[in-house]
């Protein structure tokens, strides 16, 4: 396997009020292509900050971040936006679907930035919804879908532009156990059968069990997860 994500000596902090708080301290991390990595840790440990840096939503204060051979730590916000459109699919804890759009229109959003024709966009959207098992709910709005179905729509949206990397921030944090398992099984299938590289933040050891590698983020530093995962 080759490295898809390479992070070297990354430092990130935030200013809250008058105080500067360093959230990540000299992080080094490599994510291999085709890997399913779970980042675990307690609230405030810096795992979401690390995920945001990997996904190009934020920039580090220091250090290097290379994804798919491209240094992204020095890109401007406009360049990062274009880079994200080409390379990353995002899945959030609360789905973050646009409530006024149907499922298919939500899934289409990332494709609006491409040069695909309307017919091609429709085809890709249909294929993505088919993949997550929601082809029959294409015309439904998020409010008409269950939490699990909404998260599947969000996964279809993350996949539709065929990104190199999927970043998931607590994708099952708002779901019951049964639905969580079906979502995680879907992510695992996408990783194993479609070869998608996935970086997932979770505080749930059961969710982390679906990943091929688990790392623990604590107080802004990384460590291999040595925790025993309950079956």
């Amino acid at each position: 396997m080759t490295a898809l994500v390479s992070i070297k000596q990354v430092v990130k902090g935030y200013t809250r009020g008058k105080q500067r708080v360093e959230v990540l301290h000299s992080i080094d991390l490599t994510v291999e292509r085709g890997e399913f990595l779970a980042l675990m840790g307690p609230s405030g440990s810096g795992k979401t900050t690390l995920l945001n840096l990997i996904g190009g939503l934020d920039r580090p204060d220091r250090g290097e971040i290379t994804v798919a051979g491209e240094r992204i730590d020095g890109l401007s916000s406009g360049q990062l936006a274009k880079w994200r459109a080409r390379n990353v699919g995002f899945i959030f804890q609360f789905y973050n679907l646009l409530p006024v759009l149907t499922a298919e229109r939500n899934v289409e959003v990332p494709l609006l930035l491409t040069k695909l024709s309307a017919a091609e966009r429709r085809r890709n959207v249909a294929a993505a919804l088919e993949l997550v098992g929601l082809a029959d709910r294409a015309k439904h709005k998020p409010g008409e879908l269950s939490g699990g179905q909404q998260q599947r729509v969000a996964i279809a949206r993350a996949l539709v532009a065929d990104p190199t990397l999927l970043v998931c921030d607590e994708p099952t944090g708002d779901l019951d156990r049964e639905t969580s398992e079906s979502i995680l099984t879907l992510l695992k299938l996408l990783n194993e059968r479609q070869g998608k590289t996935i970086v997932m933040v979770t505080h749930d050891p059961r969710a982390a069990q679906y990943a091929s590698r688990r790392l623990y983020v604590d107080k802004g530093s990384l460590a291999a997860a040595a925790l025993g995962v309950a079956a």
Partner: protein, 383 residues
């Protein structure tokens, strides 16, 4: 076009709020269309007025009659090609509040002086043959449903008949139209001779004279010569070109342009707060959604573009509706206030839509700036 569903959906996120804002903009631009259309139409009428036609009224004011004997002396002024005259009738149909703009004319000379009015020669002959004949303007005929052969009994709030009869019975023997649309056709014309013989008072007088000259550059000079003829007489005249005459009549009402602009400015200023507030609320409620769009690669300019497009769609569609409504109802309103034959000028439509676009951009500027500046990480974290 591919962003249209996104823009449309954003617009209808809060249906009631959007509808109310839309209605505000519709009403404001309907008012804009009516008021501006009125002033633009008046300006158009003034511009279309002839420089080679003079109007003569009493120097005192327009209600003071002028002797018909003036006609022969006016015709002697060098440069005058023809003279006609007109007397206000102040007509009404069935009841005084149901007014019918009516004027007593000498049809033959009137026809010669107003070539832009299309009047069939057979109607001129019919008027000459029928003493109580009347010619109905195209707009008036359409409004009242009158046609040739109809008997039209009118009352007059000024003129009583010599024979003591209550009303004036006229028979419509013809109609006239204005192919250029520049002359109002909302009037009924009756024979001056019949009217003058039948009226109880002020016989042998007229309200206005119309004078045809062939050299517009001499209109001021000829006007002075005519007024000089009657200087220091009991019936002094005031002669002006048609254009100046109408301008003076309108100026008597006040500075219409100023009033119209003041009203429109006040309405638009208030409206700016309504639409600005709508856009601000709309963007504030959608901060997480806009953050998701940015997450998926929509750049700052794309997000700004979406907010501006939403505002433009709302304001321009509503303004087009408002101006459309004003275009549909303005001719009948203008006719009600005595200015018939006017349609909303295209220039007002163009200015209105331009104003709506500017309005949309101004009211969306702050929300768009906020959308542009939002930090994805903070917005997704609910900060």
């Amino acid at each position: 076009m591919k962003y249209l569903p996104l823009i449309w959906a954003g617009l209808w996120r809060k249906r009631a709020r959007t509808v109310l804002t839309l209605l505000c903009v519709v009403v404001a631009f309907a008012l804009f269309g009516l008021l501006n259309g009125f002033t633009a139409a008046l300006g158009g009428i003034i511009d279309s007025m002839s420089d080679t036609r003079l109007r003569i009224m009493s120097r005192v004011n327009i209600t003071q009659p002028l002797p018909l004997a003036h006609r022969a002396r006016i015709e002697t002024v060098p440069g005058v090609d023809g003279v006609s005259y007109y007397n206000f009738f102040a007509g009404y149909y069935q009841e005084p509040r149901n007014s019918v703009q009516t004027g007593a004319i000498d049809v033959e000379t009137f026809d010669a002086i107003y070539p832009e009015i299309e009047l069939d020669p057979s109607y001129v002959e019919a008027m000459k043959r029928t003493r109580n004949g009347a010619l109905v303007g195209e707009d008036l005929a359409a409004e009242r449903g009158w046609k040739i052969g109809d008997k039209v009994p009118l009352g007059s709030s000024i003129w009583r008949r010599k024979d003591g009869a209550e009303g004036w019975d006229f028979e419509i023997v013809g109609s006239y139209r204005s192919p250029s649309g520049r002359v109002p056709t909302s009037e009924l014309w009756i024979n001056y001779d019949y009217f003058d013989e039948a009226r109880q008072a002020a016989n042998g007088t007229v309200t206005l004279y119309f004078v045809k000259i062939h050299d517009s550059s001499r209109s001021a000079e000829i006007s002075e010569q005519i007024d000089a003829l009657f200087a220091n007489s009991t019936s002094e005249t005031q002669t002006q070109s048609e254009k100046d005459w109408l301008r003076a009549q309108i100026a008597q009402i006040g500075d219409i342009g100023f009033f119209v602009n003041a009203i429109i400015a006040a309405v638009m200023f208030a409206l700016l707060f309504v639409t600005g507030n709508t856009m601000m609320q709309s963007v504030r409620e959608r901060i997480p959604e806009l953050a998701v769009l940015k997450t998926y690669g929509f750049g700052n300019s794309a997000v700004v573009g979406l907010v501006l497009a939403e505002s433009l769609l709302l304001c321009c569609v509503a303004a087009a509706l408002g101006i459309g409504i004003s275009a549909a109802i303005s001719p009948s309103i203008y006719r009600e206030i005595g200015v018939g034959g006017i349609n909303l000028p295209w220039s007002v439509v163009a200015v209105g839509l331009g104003l709506a676009a500017a309005f949309a951009i101004v009211s969306a500027a702050l929300p768009a700036l906020r959308a542009q500046r939002l930090s994805i990480v903070d917005a997704l974290a609910g900060r």
